[in-house]
Structures are given as C-alpha cells and as structure tokens.
Symmetry: C2
Subunit: 115 residues, 2 copies
C-alpha cells in the first residue's frame, strides 16, 4: 500500500495508517512529500508555526509576527503564503486583518510520514 495522494497529487490520507518510509517511495510520491517538507524546512516558517500555535486563541495576524521574526512585512507575508499553500495554515479575514491558524492535523500527518 502506497502513501495516499489527493487529486492534485499531494500527500494526504488519514494519520491512522501511514506507510511512512518503510516502503520504497516512487519519484512522484517522494516529490509531493518533499514539497510538504520544504514548506516546513525554513527557520522563519518554523518560528511562524510555533508563534501562531502558542498565541492567544491559537491565531495571529501578520502585524504581530513581523517584530518577533525581525523580518519585513512582505517577507512574513511570503512565508505565510508558502505555509498556507502547503495546507499547514488557514487564513481568516476579519476587517483589515488576516488571522492565521495552524492546521494541526496536517502537521501531525507530516510527523507520521517520517516513521
């Protein structure tokens, strides 16, 4: 049984029964898993995940993130986009603010795939 992919070829499937790395990965599966890992494999994005996870209500707006990251606002927006496109963050707009929250299931799914 291979690692499951959704219609776009992205890694998905339930966290209950991952194949992990115990079976040889074909190139395609390896590429979509790598795309997901690349989204996390950056210091700024790891900081973002940890900051959002540990903030009140488990959500943050961009303006609260640029200072602790010591990066420009466009750069922070860029990283948030990468994480969102990878399915690791969700965005909700309230007025002028964008609120980001961590998709925990997706993160644990990723964690499980490394077994």
């Amino acid at each position: 049984m291979a690692t499951r992919l959704d219609a776009r070829g992205e890694v998905t499937g339930p966290a209950c029964c991952p194949t992990g790395l115990t079976t040889p990965l074909d190139r395609g599966t390896a590429e979509s898993l790598a795309r997901l890992l690349k989204a996390v494999a950056d210091p700024a994005r790891l900081q973002l995940l940890s900051l959002i996870k540990s903030s009140p209500n488990a959500e943050s707006c961009v303006c609260d993130l640029t200072v602790p990251l010591a990066l420009s606002q466009p750069t922070v927006s860029h990283h948030l986009r990468v994480l969102t496109e990878a399915g690791l963050l969700s965005r909700t707009n309230r007025g002028t603010w964008s609120w980001y929250s961590v998709n925990d299931e997706r993160l644990q799914e990723l964690s499980a795939l490394l077994r």
Copy 2:
C-alpha cells in the same frame, strides 16, 4: 523548557519529551531544526531513506541505489553525504563498498519535533 541542542548547536535530546512547536522558537533553534528538515526535504533523499530502510539487512551500498533513483553516481553520493552529515545515515566501509544504514532514532526524533 526549550528544544535541546548539543555542543554544535544541533537539535538533539531524547525523543521522550520534545517541546515540538508548542513554544515560540528562537531564531537559533529554528535554524538548526530547519537544517535537519532541509536534509529530508528532497525527493531523492526521501527515496534513499525509504530504499535503505526497506533493503535486506536495512543497509545498502551506493551501487544498489543509483539505478532505482535514476541519478548519476556522484549525485547519489552527494545526497548520501547530506543525509550522513545530518546524522540520519551511518556509513560503514567494507572493502571497496560503502554501506549506508538509517539512524532510526534520529528520524523519530525529527518526527517528534513536529508536534
């Protein structure tokens, strides 16, 4: 309590009690965690890990890996080096052959850090 680092500033510590991402990461910790994740965030290297893990005796020599990866021998050696330097692979030389095996504890440690 922060994520533990060894003398070189690399992510280490027991798999028993990781902080994961539940606490804000400082830049230095995030950088060393990202270094470890970058080593895994590549399709060829994911294939390598899965191939070595699922091979007889859970070890492989380079010559058995270039064909399934469809990459040149120098490129495969390069990826093996990246994984080895990240502590995810161990190398043993027997005669002319280099045998690589997966450091499973290190991999599970990484998996645990994503909680």
